[in-house]
Amino acid sequence: MAAANPSVFLLMVNGQVESAQFPEYDDLYCKYCFVYGQDWAPTAGLEEGISQITSKSQDMRRALVWNFPIDVTFKSTNPYGWPQIVLSVYGPDVFGNDVVRGYGAVHVPFSPGRHKRTIPMFVPESTSTLQKFTSWFMGRRPEYTDPKVVAQGEGREVTRVRSQGFVTLLFNVVTKDMRKLGYDTGPADTQGIAGPSLPQGIPR
């Protein structure tokens, strides 16, 4: 009965935080967490994670590789509030203080399949040059009160940020019962009848 008339759809995301490009920094680690709407609930897997510290590769790429796995399953009744992964990268500064090196967020891909995403990262800027100096000196750079801020649009107009680098993510997305509930998320779905069409958003 449940299969015939599902009341929720499932979204399984696995993949990994593969690597990062931060030309200026080394010895970074990253945290990830998911931000999702009220109609969403994680059913399995880890919602949050913190990776090992990685150093730059010695080759030309100078890549910071984490290969930090993500594996989580959500259930939902409503595509509104589709999960976003929020990444924050930290690393030591010259004095050895842990400071934030970048925030970034991206939606989990809508359509099932394998997706690679490169997220540009940014950090909030100090409000003044003096602040900048002291924050550099004290090792207390401006940070977001909550990394999840970067997954929301509200209130961002008061901040100024600086771009830092890129993080590459790999997602493998599997959905279940989306089509049965009337959400067609793209060609990679089992039947592949219709072209890609975003799910109908619910008007706010």
């Binding site: 009341s7 929720v8 759809f9 009220q38 969403w40 409000t127 924050s135 004290m138």
Partner: protein, 1636 residues
Amino acid sequence: MNPREEKVSIITEESTANDEDAEVGRREKSSKVQRQQRKKQPPRADSEEMVTGKAQPGQEEPEMHLLSMPARRGPRSLPPIPSMSRTGFAEFSMRERLREKLQAARSKAESALLQEIPTPRPRRLRSPSEKELETEFGPEPCKESQATSHRNDSQSYSRVKFHDAVQKIKSKPQAPPGFPSAEEAYNFFTFSFDPEPEEPTVKARAKNRDGTHQEEEGEEESPAGGMNKMVLNVIARAGTPQKDEEELLGSQDAKDFLLGLDPAPDEFVVVRPAEYEGTHTWLEKEKELLFFPSRRAVPTWKKLPENVQPRFLEDEGLYTGARPEVARAQQNVVENRLLRQEPERKWFGDDGRILALPSPIKPFSSRPRPLAQEPSAQAGLETHYKKAVKYVHRTQHVVGSADPPGSFQLDIDISGLIFTHHPCFSREHVLAAKLAQLYDQYLARHQRSKAKFLTDKLQALRNAVQTGLYPEKPHQSLDATQKTIKEYKSEIRETRKLRDAEQEKDRTLLKTIVKVWKEMKSLREFQRFTNTPLKLVLRKEKVDQKADEEAYEAEIQAEISELMEEHTEEYEQRLGEYRASYQQWKAWKKAQKAKKKKKKQAEEHPEGEAEEELYPGEEPVKPIPPELLDHAVLEQQARERAAHSRRRPGEPVLLPELSLTGSVTPDDQCPRAEVLRREDVKRRSVYLKVLFNSKEVSRTVSRQLGADFCVHFGQIFNLQIFNWPESLTLQVYETVGHSSTTLLAEVFLPIPETTTVTRRAPVEEVEFSSSQHVTLDHEGVGSGVPFSFEADGSNQLILMTSGRVSHSVAWATGDNGTPLIPPPSQQSLGFRSALKRADAISSIGTSGLTDMKKLAKWAAESKLDPNDPNNAPLMQLISIATSGESYVPDFFRLEQLQQEFNFVTSEELNRSKRFRLLCLRSQEVPEFRNYKQIPAYDREILEKVFQDYEKRLRDKSVIETKDHIDTHRAIVAKYLQQVRESVVNRFLIAKHHFLLSDLVVEEEVPNMSSEGSGILGLSLFKLAEQKRPLRPRRKGRKKVTAQNLSDGDIKLLVNICRAYDIPVRKPPASKSQQPARSSRTFSDRHAASPGAHSPPHSPDTPLSQVSVRPFVEVSFQRTICHTTTAEGPNPSWNEELEFPFRAPNGDYSTASLQSVKDDVFINIFDEVLHDILEDDRERGSGIHTRIERHWLGCVKIPFSTIYSQARIDGTFKINTPPVLLGYSKERNVLLERGLDSVRSLSEGSYLTLFITIEPQLVPGESVREKTSDLLKKFDSQEDEKLLQATEKFQAECALKFPTRQCLTTVTDISGKTVFVTRYLKPLNPPEELLNVYPNNPQATAELVARYVSLIPFLPDTVSFAGICDLWSTSDQFLDLLAGDEEEHAVLLCDYFLFLGKKAWLVMGNAIPEGPTAYVLTWEQNHYLIWNPCSGHFYAQFDTFCPLKSVSCLIGPDNIWFNIQQYDSPLRINFDVTKPKLWKSFFSRSLPYPGLSSVQPEELIYQRTDKAAAAELQDRIEKMLKEKIMDWRPRHLTRWNRHCTSTLRHFLPLLERSQGEDVEDEHRAELQKQLGDYRFSGFPLHMPYSEVKPLIEAVYSTGVHNTDVPNVEFALAVYIHPYPKNVLSVWIYVASLIRNR
């Protein structure tokens, strides 16, 4: 492609069919060539052949056929030809023949060409094949020569060989690269032939060929023909099997053999001059061959079928679209060609033109133009400075877009306005207006003086007649003179009539003026006052009586004579007429007589009779001879007329003169009605609106109406315009007082001529009138209302408001004197009509665009093509507008296609429960704010989800009295709810307004000011600090952000340490009562004099007895834990109790947690063991005891306090009932020593507690922090300077003592920032409280404090969840009957100020409330600290004072911040005059500006309805009894009525004494009445807010929790009403067990 190919093949067939002789020729020729080839053995043969080949045009063709022959041989067949005998021509020389054939073939081909189109394709295709053939033949001869070397041996063999070789090449095209295969391939691929239709003919030919061996081949000259062969070759090869071909080969061979053997003419070489054809012949030939289409236009009839008229679709109203541009000549050429080629005219349309689709070329490119140069992209991004220019409308409706875009100016000068009638006119005014009007008329007439002019004219005419009658020089013919005189005379007549009329008019006008003036005078006399300054003076002009009389007489004589003349003339004429008719009559009479005679004669003739009878009516009347008028009669008439219309001779000429010199009666001499009218006039003012193209552009100032009803404006409006004006309108508005403005009338001004320029324009007057009906209650006559001048009301008049506007409209002139007029061409009709076609805007004006009907009219007039897609939207619009005549939408649809894209109707969408749920959640409606996982389908959403919400919406208006027994409180609760909602809305808006600090955590900039200069250094120093100090400081617990939590994650830890002074049991049997405790005086209690009070010793208390076995039960969110039982009145438990915490709706957000209303109840019970062993004999073997628990007291701590404080640590006073039956305070049990004695002074029991939440929650922002943040977001009415000062003050204070809270501004209930001292002001407490102890100020103070404490407590954090602290004023507080510490403290402080005390508001920290407000008063020599919520007061040095720290004091006129080292009230000095200890806000530098209070002047108290209170009391009692029964579902609950009534009597006593000093009497009384009962009970006291807390309180005592079988209960409720509906509730609960 295919059809064309077919065509080509058809041509081939035709040509082959027709050219059989040519074929023959060719065949023969080819044989000749073969012969030549045979002759090739000599090396020169080659060149020779070349020569011959060149010499003959078209000779190369045969060579080609060498190649094609073998292939053709198989399928080639000729149709049966009748003229086989052609072979006979072989006798002629070959060339001759060939030429002939050529000619013939050419003509044939030409004819074929004329029939069919010579498609260029075959021609083009031919050339490669031709070329290849030539080159290919190069090596061929060599092969041939090799082959021919053997030919002698066997010709046939070599022949076969040769064919084979060719065949091989053909069949294997790829074998030698670049050889025939290429050409073949070319043919093969370029011709997509169709073998099907070909095959039958091929077969037929094959058959024929089998039959006939004579093959004649002619060369086909036409390129098509040549090509066709190729086609056939290929076809043949493809179509026929190999075997068949070989078969045929044999027969062919035979023929070749024969030809080859023929020795005759081929051996000769004939040398001839090169053939030359003259240019003319060439041209001739070309003419035959080529077709040049004519460039001349083709007549239409040729292009259309016969007898068909051209039809022009466009004229029929069908849309045809624009044809693409093609040159006319080009078109003609095409038409000519088409006519020639395809006579069926299918390429021509009905209109005789070539069919064409509309031009697909758009007028403009839809693709953006590529950047011209890539590298210049940079240049494109450069910024250029361009000076800002004023935007000038360049659209079509701008007047003369070619003209300099100057604006034009129209000057409207409104000089004034005069009412000719106004509702406020008095009767006199009406007359005055009439008089003025008449006078104006008179003046106008006088100026024109038409009468005089006519008189002069008459005179002149008479003179002329005089001279005409008696001419001095009769140079004119007589009849001409006669004629002129006649004309003159008639003119005289006319003029005289006119003059008479004019004179009469003048005279009547004068008469009317006089009459009106007389009326006015009489009216003035009648009403005894004058309203108008009008005055009429009639000036008499003396005339010379004699001359006048003479002139008069002469005039009359002249007139009479003229009349006489006229009459005679008339008479003459009439006489003539009469005579004529008389003659007639006579004749008739005669005839009649004759007839009569006849009749007599022929009486027998009936027909005569009949005839006679036919004319009886025709008898003409006998004409009456005209009478000659008597002279006297005429004179009489003339005189009469003159008297009527003319001034009598000798009568003085009257010249009226109207002046405004009269005096108006002043107001004080007028009757009341008139004064009213004048006042009304004064209240009225008038202004004009100027409307340009029916849009208001400006208006005049509003001017008061003068007493003379004139308004002078004198304003000039300069209208800067672009368009030629469509209309100019003035609207007259009248304002009465300050109220309504009414539109009186609209005046349409004419648009001035282009010649009228400012300063030359005359001032014109335009009349207006209004249709309004006004009736006034004073002397004013009103408008549109009948009134009368007569006393009896007859002769009614109805006058409408009317007046005149004097204005002038003119075009302004520019600086250089040029008038700023739109070009006159704009108005000229021709121009407009021309434009009308093109542009709707210019023809109907801009404003017309909004008028659908106008637009439709324009569309009809301009004959828009309705089928043109360009006009489609316009036509649609018009059709919509005109179809429903009445329906013209008065709206503009923004997204007209929205309807189509709605996937469901909006009703359906609204019906969707899921959608509704999503909407409500998005709106953050409290019920749904945290709704998780909204189901995917409607059907899964239960209707009851909405029930609560809908109920709440319904209840908004309906006052629910179920929860609130008292209606007033229900109303208040509703009000509170509304206030809360509005504040929540404000807050929600503010919440979405983010500050940087909300998002980004950033270190503060180290303060560089002189005071804090060390801070940066300090922090630098910190860097050098060791990361791991040897003596680590205690670190705070890790705080958890609330969002990630879920149920069960949070625990509430309650650590019960110990208690002091628990009441101890009294021996139940003890009847000996303690003597009543000395009633302690007020001063006793706070006098910090240890030892002053000696507690009474009860002599009979056995020391050995276990006085009490207390345990603590803590309940939170319906979870109950209790400690072990300890012993003694000072027990120590040291136990930690753990409670799970569940947030409402599972929402762990800060706002939600702050609004948790749950309380932690800490109840202290005494565990009593009762031996219930019935039989003493069993005492040795069994223990039967019953555990009873008796409630001793409770401590209630709200969760919100715990949450905001993070931990609560301290000793709390246990809330014990004033009377605890069976218990007493046993102070004497323990020895009095030092501290204990101090403690004992503040009577009561105490409990030491430690409460916290695990894990520690981030308290979000504490309410006050949030306040300060939000304060910036809320607005304020305070002075900006003051606000800056407060910020500065707060910053300074925070710098010194960051933990001490400094309060300067607070938020009032409407969300505005208010300076805090505005709340403090003496306010009167209720009268009756003051009257209780008139002579005891201290008692009064206590009573007042009690009154304040009876107002229910409701923390702001709860009422305004997640929102800042709001301070309501005292009247609001009393109306709401709910508030938190601030409101209580403010009210108490205000009361104390009223009582004449020195009182301050103390802001500080207390337990358990946390940051709170207390009241400090200065008594004679000491300070008292009052807890406004409990009504208790403490001395400054009381150790159990809950106030633990003091941060600032607030007085009515200043704020003092505590800058002492300590903040505990025990250790500080409250003397605010010392600036070293207290930092004051207002000082010498900033003096107190005298801020007005926000509090009301006086509080008004209503007496509470006693009956309602009694009713409430009964209801509560009933409800509680029911509840207790409910709580004991398994047991019978008996009520002891006797006890209840006793208790009920006792409760008012308690109220009166405030719970003191009555215990013992009460106990005695109870003992007396219920001696055989063992009972425990206690009264509960609390302020009344709702029923629920009462029930909770009763429940928490656990009285109902006895399961003794024969237990009885007693419950009594007493409500004491205080003013303003403040109710004090007493509940007495007791359980009784009968002693046996």
